[in-house]
Structure formats: C-alpha cells, structure tokens
Symmetry: C2
Subunit: 199 residues, 2 copies
DNA sequence: CTTAACTCGAACATTGATGTACGAGTTTCA
DNA sequence: TGAAACTCGTACATCAATGTTCGAGTTAAG
C-alpha cells in the first residue's frame, strides 16, 4: 500500500489502524489525487475539504504538505506499475507499444499532471528516483522495437521517450480544450506515434 | 511598444516618460521575462530585485502583478509577430515550416514557458485573445501544406498544431535535462515533425 | 537652475497558507 | 462497556506575498 510512514499519530499496539482512520486516509488520497492532477497551487485546506475531513485530521495523518505529496506520488507510481504488469507486452514491440498506449494513456496523462503540479513540494531527487523505474519500462520496449527493425534509430532514445510523453500530454490538453473527442484520442495518439517512431 | 496603460504615475505633460523611468521599465520587463519564463511562482519582489529596482518603483509603473504579467505577455507577442514578419514563408509549405521552426523554436519555447508560468495572473480570455493571431499564422502554413499535398490530412488540424508546440516544448525540456545538445535540437525537432506531418 | 518627475527604503495593513495546541466529543474494537 | 484511537472546531503563531502610504532624496530636462 502507498504507506511507509504515512501516519503521524501513534498507531495502536497491534500496528493496525482503526477502520475510520483508514477510510479517511483513503478519502484524502483520492481527493488529493483529483485536485493535484487537475490544477496547480492546491492547498492542504482544499484537499481536506474535498475529502470531507477536517484540516487537523489531515495533518494527523500527513504531518506536512510534502508528506502528503509524497504519498500521492507513491500511490500513482504503484498504480502505474500495476498497469504495466496487467498489459501484454509480448510479441512485436510496435504492437505492444500500441497496446500500452491505448490502455494507459489516460493514466500516463493524469500522473504527468500530478507530477507537474507537485514539483516544488518534493525534491527533484526523490521524484527522479521514483520515476526512473517507469521510464525504464518504456525504454526497454522502444529498444526492443529498434532491435526488431520497427522503430527508427536516427534519433536519441531519450528523445523518443520524451516525445511520447509530450504527445500524450498534448492529447489530454486537446480534450480539455474541447478540440478533440475523448474517444478519438487513442487513435490520434497511436497514428501520431506510429509516424514518429517508424523506421 | 509594449505599453498601453503601463505607467500608473501621471506622466509629464508632453506625454513622454523621463529617460530613467523608461530605463527602469525596460529593466523590469527584461528581468520579468527572464524569471517568468524560467520557473513558476515568481514574486513581484523578485522581479524588482532582479531588475535592480525598488519594489515601490515597480508598483509605480505596473499597478499590480496582473498588469505586469500582461505587459510581459504583450511584449512576447509582439516579439513573435516580428519574428514571423522576418522569416521567409514563401515557396513550398513544408520547407517554409522548417525555416520557421529552425529560426523560432527557441522563441516559441520561451514564450510557452512564460505562458505556462503566467496562467493564473491573467484571465484565460485575455490570454486566448492575444494568442489566437499567432496560432492562425501556423494554421495557415499547415493548411497550405495540406493543399500542396505535402502534409497529412487524416488528423485534425488543431492536433497538428498542438503536437508542434508540444514537441518544441519537449525539445527544450530535453536540453534543460542535459539529454540533448542545444545544437542538435533543431535537427531533431525538424526530423520529428517531418515524420509526423508528412502525408 | 529650478521644477517636476522619479526613486527609494521603511513601515503598515491585508490576505492566505502552513503547521501546532487544546479540549471536548465520537467511534472503533477488544 | 470501557479504554484507546480518532475526529473536529477553534484558536493561535508564523511566514510570505501583495499593495499602499509617507517623506526625503535624486535625477532629468526645459
């Protein structure tokens, strides 16, 4: 679970948290994710209110804004890891990348926004350390595609990855702006990346 | 000039500003652009200090944070317009777009950062109104390329524009992160957009 | 040189956010 | 049921930012 040293208050002897406490923590993280991934400059008070919880209660579980931010990121990272485990990456890399994209693009997007809006609340090192494993998964997939001769090799690998994220982000922006229907997004994204990646 | 109703203090009868005042205004705008385009959350006090000017002096010229932001954006828009007037957009659209990109990508990038970091200081309507003319220039160029049969037509026009900006932004990020040499950026960008845009 | 424009620091009022302390109430769980 | 865990509002201290006021000094420009 996205825990670690989440709770500031001394937990009960059994090490278990009381049910209402756990419920509140979940609500806080849910609300926090929703707010943080939607806009910058979210305050702790806003998160508490959106979670239907007193501000003091929130501080009881997350001793500081930074700790709350870390918990949110941890949860998002785990969700991403789970999504990767769930997707089928066997077979040709280009088809596999397409599957990954179609199933995870909204998750990638949400987490990217979360990350953007949380910068300043956690150290760059901390962020990088958590984000690296995820980047490596995509990196492997692209490298495999290059080995198979499906993906281009004339551009830096890091650029291909960055461009991927960048276009996912752009697609979400288009949807938000009302210039692209959500249903069309996967197809547009997929077509764009096929063009961009192919040898 | 990026003026309008810039100055709050009553100007002299001649309508002219005194030379030292103009110098300070310029310094403030220079410093503001530098700071705002480099990171979010810039304070008025920081801009004043970076401009080598007292905070009160800054408020004398720009009555509020919002007015300062508007003046910065205005200046950036004018610079972009000037850049467009300076570039040769005649001949085949694909080659013209390539020229635009190579000569303006750093400007596009800086202004995009400025815009990102200034959101919240000005109203979306104001921003959109100023930004639209610039978007229209790119739009025309792409449409021409489609008419000439050089650019794809299977994706929405708005998406092609957004993708362009998005990749420019991504390229700048890569440079900042040290994963891409600044000299290589135009080539990488150009190659990527060729792939993405071609029929 | 004289005046009006301009600059400056210091001080103040206001606002909003963070984080803490307290004490009284409520809920879980054994 | 009873004790510990938990929640809540209120209140407080702190900090940083915005914007204003004042008055004394400096500088440009006719």
């Amino acid at each position: 679970m996205a825990d670690g040293k989440t709770s500031a208050s001394a937990r009960r002897p059994s090490g278990q948290r009381r049910a209402d406490a756990q419920r509140n923590i979940d609500n806080i993280l849910d609300a926090g994710l929703r707010l943080y991934s939607s806009r910058p400059g979210v305050s702790v008070a806003e998160v508490a209110e959106a979670a239907g919880v007193g501000r003091v209660t929130l501080y009881g579980h997350f001793p500081s804004r930074t700790e709350l931010a870390k918990a949110l990121m941890d949860r998002a990272f785990e969700e991403t890891e789970a999504a990767w485990r769930a997707v089928d990456t066997s077979g040709p890399a280009d088809a596999a990348l397409d599957r990954v994209l179609r199933e995870q693009w909204h998750l990638m997007e949400r987490n990217r926004n979360l990350r953007d809006n949380i910068i300043g609340d956690v150290s760059p090192q901390w962020l990088r350390q958590r984000h690296d494993p995820i980047l490596r998964r995509i990196e492997e997939l692209i490298t495999r595609g290059q080995d198979e001769g499906a993906f281009r090799t004339d551009l830096p690998l890091s650029w291909l990855i960055t461009a991927l994220y960048s276009l996912v982000h752009a697609a979400a922006d288009e949807i938000t702006a009302g210039r692209l229907a959500a249903k069309q997004a996967p197809e547009v994204l997929s077509a764009s990346l096929r063009s961009l990646y192919r040898q």
